[in-house]
Structure formats: C-alpha cells, structure tokens
Amino acid sequence: MHDPGARRMARRKLERDPQAELVAYSDQEPSAFASMLGGLIEANIRSNPAKLEDFDRLVARVGIFVTDIEEGVTLDFKGGRLVVHNGLEATRTITIRAEAETVMSLSNLRIGPLGMPIYFDEVGRGVALKLLKGRLKIDGLIPNVMTVNAVTRVFSVT
C-alpha cells in the first residue's frame, strides 16, 4: 500500500549534530589568517540558518590571497564541511586577490533580495570600484558567479 508520508520523510532534512565539526584545518599549525577566516565562517554559519543552508550546498575550492601581506589560504567547501589550508592549493574554482582592507570589506558586503550582494551602498561601491580598478581580482569569476555570490553570503557578517 502507498505510504502517504513516505515522500515527506524522503524530503526531510537530516538533523545535524549541533556539536558536529563544520570547519577543519589541514595544517597542524593553521596560520593566523587561516584561523581567522575559518573562525569567521564558522561563527557566521552557526548563528545564521540561511548561511548554513548556503554552506551545506557549497562545493568549491576558493583561494584568497592578501597581496599586501603576501599570504593566502584555500577554503575547500565540501557541501556542509570546510577544510582550510594554509597557502594556495592547486585546482581552485575561484581565487580572490586583494589587499587586507579589501578582504575585510568583502565580509562587510550587505546581502540583498535573492541573496545578491549589494553593490550600491558605501561598502558595495568601494568593492565594485576596486574590482573595476583591478585592486580586487577574482580569477574564475565569470563562469562561477553563483559560487562567488554563495561564498560572499557565507563570508558576510551583515
């Protein structure tokens, strides 16, 4: 006999253990930058269910290189889990290169309707201008716009 509740059961989301490890570090001694980005993303997703949903869907290898301190990290999003590597690892989906101040302003981008970052307020205009002037470079942006937006949402503290 057909079970009317079966479909609902199949669609139900798996409950996540609140203590489950969401962010791990591949290096025995994560750099300060790696710890900071990993800590920031973990705090964001633990405090905001919408960001957690993005995090659960996000599969991408994101490099972030801070040009004025010449330090980078790779954020390996594995659909519900993040592994942070010191330095830039090979085969990245996107790579963001910018000065420290710009990297911090990326996390201050406000997210608007439909989950799109807002580029018309003060922070957004600053980021857009840096992108136009080449002071913020995102390798792999064009084919991965949706991934960039998802990463921005997970990264954003607003």
Partner: protein, 141 residues
Amino acid sequence: MMPVKAFSEEWASAFKDEVNRSSTYKSAAKGWKWTVGLVVEAEPDKHFPESRGVVMDLFDGEARDIKVGPAADAQKCDFVITAPYSRWKEVATKQLDATKGMLQGKLKLKGDLPTIVRYTKASQEMTECTTRVPVAWPDEN
C-alpha cells in the same frame, strides 16, 4: 601637546580624548557595546618590564572610560587584543597596520570575529587615534 609616557594613565586619558574627538569613530562605532582590552606584553630589554592592560569601555560611538592597569583586567574584556610592547609601538607609530597585524598573527585577537569584522572601520579609526597621541617611548629615552 607634551608627549605622555607610553601606556600610562596620562596616555589613556589623552587616547580617550582623541577617540571622543573623532567624528569618524563616533559614526563607525554606532551600536558598539562591548569592552575591549589591550594586553601590552612586557619586553624588559625595551625598558617595558611589566605587562600592562588597557581596559576600554566603549559604548555606541563613545569612549566612556579608558584605564591602564594589570594585564589580567584587560583579559576579562569581551574582546582582547594581545601583542608585545614593540608591536603596539609599531601600530601607534603607523609602522604596522592593525588589520594586517591581526591577519599575520602579530596581534592576537580573542572575541567574536563577526562582530569585530562588522566594526572594521571603527577599529581602524581607533588605531588612527592612537597615532595622534604624542608618546614618550621607554626604549627611546
């Protein structure tokens, strides 16, 4: 203004005045309601023999109080930034940008990261305020 002794009560008072004079800080720190502690670690070879703590009571764009005391007092604050004396001197003399210092681990930050990131502009202006206080550095006398 006469230079004040680094991380002394006079320095704290001058720093507080600078913060409260800054309209940039006032608008950037709107909504801030947490205490911030700066731990200045001892460097006896730089004539800074004992660690000190700077406790900042900051509220909604205003510095209500800034005090210098034992490092343990600063460690009890909501946000704690720790560095040796010479690193703080680099920050106060504009040789080290505080944001870069934190990303490089030269300044160690403890506290809720999303909150501090949300107030990046306020913390940058606060750093600017320290650079406007003339200081007599113990390792330069």
